[in-house]
């Protein structure tokens, strides 16, 4: 069974984001694999353990995105592909979706396409559904568990809904995205990292995918940061909870909060 999982490289969640020259900047915060996509990779690997198959990890991004792919390879994916093209900078989600759908078609015979819930930088969360629409595959979102999978036939999953869990079944191939309920991503093994660091990752351009450059339909008119609040943290200490509480009350009254 062929499983394809899509990952994005994003700035670390502790990065301080600012606006510089109308562009978003995260300073020199490290870039990491999108945490939701890491769960998606784990989900893909767990399915591969259930049924015989291979997991292909794909990322659309600049050269640095190879690090996210290597992380996924170190976790155990069989193959990695980077989609890189000059025209793919600062695109909206439907461009991404068209590109990724083309990737799925080119890889061919894919039974399952797995996505993370959303990226922690853009946070649009719609690419998975758009890819499903383009491929005309069922979209299984908010998947918390795969209950049954019969390659070439059907998949039965559990989804997270507001009131609890919902079990749905669909005919393969499907697109699915997963949240943190699915699994804790495995820590990449050292031997895996070692092998991955030597891996040759092919880069596919739009020409390789057989599609022409696509225009973004969404334009960003303005980008501003919310005003920085002045935060002063003071830790109140004392020899007993009562003393600390008294001090706290004094301060609250002094600051005229109450």
């Amino acid at each position: 069974m062929k499983i394809i999982v899509f990952v994005k490289q994003v700035p670390d969640s502790t990065a301080i984001v600012s606006i510089e020259n109308g562009q978003v900047s995260w300073g020199d915060a490290p870039l990491i694999i999108n945490p939701w996509d890491e769960i998606a990779v784990e989900a893909a690997l767990l399915q591969r353990e259930e049924v015989e198959g291979e997991v292909i990890v794909v990322s659309m991004g600049p050269e640095s995105a190879k690090e996210a792919l290597k992380h996924a390879l170190a976790m155990g994916c069989n193959q990695a592909i980077l989609i890189g093209d000059e025209s793919l900078k600062n695109t909206d989600s439907q461009v991404v979706a068209q590109v990724l759908a083309a990737v799925v078609k080119k890889v061919g015979e894919v039974d399952l396409a797995v996505f993370g819930k959303q990226s922690i930088d853009g946070e649009a969360g719609v690419v998975a559904a758009q890819v499903a629409r383009l491929l005309k595959w069922p979209m299984l979102s908010m998947v918390s568990a795969v209950k049954k999978i019969e390659p070439g036939k059907t998949i039965q999953v559990e989804r997270v809904v507001e009131v609890g869990r919902q079990v749905v079944e669909a005919r393969l191939p499907v697109v699915m995205n997963v949240g943190k309920e699915f699994a804790e991503p495995r820590y990449p093994s050292f031997m895996g990292i070692r092998k991955a660091s030597k891996a040759e990752i092919p880069i596919w351009t739009l020409a390789d995918l057989g599609i022409a450059p696509i225009l973004s339909k969404v334009k960003w008119l303005d980008l501003t940061a919310p005003p920085q609040p002045e935060v002063n943290t003071e830790i109140i200490s004392g020899s007993s909870p009562e003393e600390i509480a008294n001090k706290l009350v004094e301060k609250i009254l002094a600051e005229k909060i109450l």
Partner: protein, 669 residues
Amino acid sequence: MLSTAEKIIFFLASLATIYATWKAIDRLVRIIGRGTGQLDWGLARKRLWSVLGKMVILKPTFNFRVGVSLAHLLIAWGFMYYMLVNLGDVLQGYIPGFRFLGDGLIGGIYRLGADILTVTLLVSLIILLFRRFILKPSDLTTRKTTLLHPKARSGILRDSAIVGVFVILHVGSRFLGESFTIAREGKDVWQPFATALSTLWVGWSGLEFAQHVAFWMALGLIMLFIVYFPYSKHIHIFFSALNFLLKPERRSIGELTKIDFDDESLEQFGASQIDQLSKIQLMDAYACIMCFRCQDVCPAYNTGKLLSPAALEINKRYFFNEEGTKFANGESSHQSLIEFAIPLEAVWACTSCGACVDICPVNNEPMRDILDIRRSLVLMDNQFPTQFQTAFRGMERTKNPWGVPPSERMNWAKGLDVPTIEKNPHPDILWWVGCAPATDVQAQKTARAFAKILKMAGVNYAVLGQAEQCTGDSARRAGKEDLFFELALGNVEILNEVKPKRIVTTCPHCLHTLKNEYPAYGGNYEVIHHSQLINELQAQGKLKANPAAAKEKITYHDPCYLTRHNDIAHEPRSVLESANVEIVEMDRKKEKTFCCGAGGGQAWKEEEHGDERVSANRFREVQASGADSLAVGCPFCMMMMVDAAKDANSPIKIRDIAEIVLENIESQA
């Protein structure tokens, strides 16, 4: 004295013994030869005299169990002297009328020595056998839950019994033999004890026959024993000396070996099989006397965990005894170390405190075996306590095991005017703050106190600020050596650019790593602890203590990585005394300090299953000291003791040395 027939038989018996011994030694050498690396005989040459000196009063045994060690010393002296005695007796047996070392003063002194040491040896041996077999103390065995080779529990006792009986018979027969000779030839003023004994059989007709029997008992037994030796723990008499001669030079007992991850040819990282340990580690099993001292001082064992460093070495030895021949011939062991030598839970219970290494009288290092097994588990099998993942990820991504990003690393210094290296590129001393003050409230107090002290004393210093990265100590002790490699190389690059004249740190783990382990990565720095700097500043008169401040009763908990790993025990105490405190010492102090429980990566995971927390055990000792306050010198010790105090509902105040010093200085304002 011997008849011709006896001489021939003895000669043939000696040949047989030599042959059997040679085979046993060959097997032993091939067993040790299965280990990795090479033994450095150059070190042995360098250390020969000092090791010979060690053998005079056996100082390493006196770390612990002083009375017993005294008895053992007398036995050891007797044994060493008997090498001469046995030689002399054989010569006297073969050469009629020959008196070894003559009839004069020298011969007399020799015989006096033999006489006295024979008696002291026998008495001491009987005391020790009484202790082992009648008193049956628990510190000569291990709990039933410890993984111990099935033959070991009875095997250790049987070994002691055989050797005990042998020595009594060997030495006793020799003693009797001398008394028989004296009974025949007349009193010997140089052998008072043998002479006293001889009065029992003066005039007995069987004396000559008895002399021969005594000779054969004494020296025949030696020949049998030599062949038994390589299977006995008593071979430590040779291997302890070899261990002291051949141990690699280390900057500290906790300085671990480097793995060069740039070497593409390396296939095995750490040790999962016994032949993946180094030769010197295999030799440890032969040096081990199975005295269980290491177990006695192990914080994990003492709090009911499965770990027993003694069991680890004993299991290795019993593997060699039982399956060594096949192993020597090149066969691999069919069980991994986790399966026969030390269980998984025990491996993860170690706090890397080094007490086992420090206390071992024969220079064994069980802690290193455990950490090598960890490396294999983490690097080869990717198997480690899941809770380590957060710390590993933190160190990888934000260079801080708590996950605090570089941008927040200096938040603890708000309002304090702490100069960073950008502002002060050529300070007299670089203060390596460490990761703890970025997160932990208590560590922040320590850092802030130290910053104020530095300002007061007008020290020209700087911190690396946001450029400071975790030293990687936690990664290394947890077995994640590749992460440590990255951090070490990165830090050495930064530090070599900064070129600090000296480094001071408020964290003993950082101190240990920067000082002892970074040299292997190209970084050689002079690193001191903040208590040492405060001590210097006080001596220079730059800090004015308040001698009239109210005297506090304080006890000081020596951090393992400061005291045992780096021999720094004096300055923290002199600094505390200057702050006008009355120090009440705990029993387990200085190199005998009892771990707080945070080392070896334990700070990042739940403690393994046991009877109580390591920190609770230590805190009970703090409470028993009668002190009102506890002084610590390490942010991890601080965390553990504060939690332990909360659990015990104790009002004991816990502060870092810097805080105590600052309070004292400020009390005169």
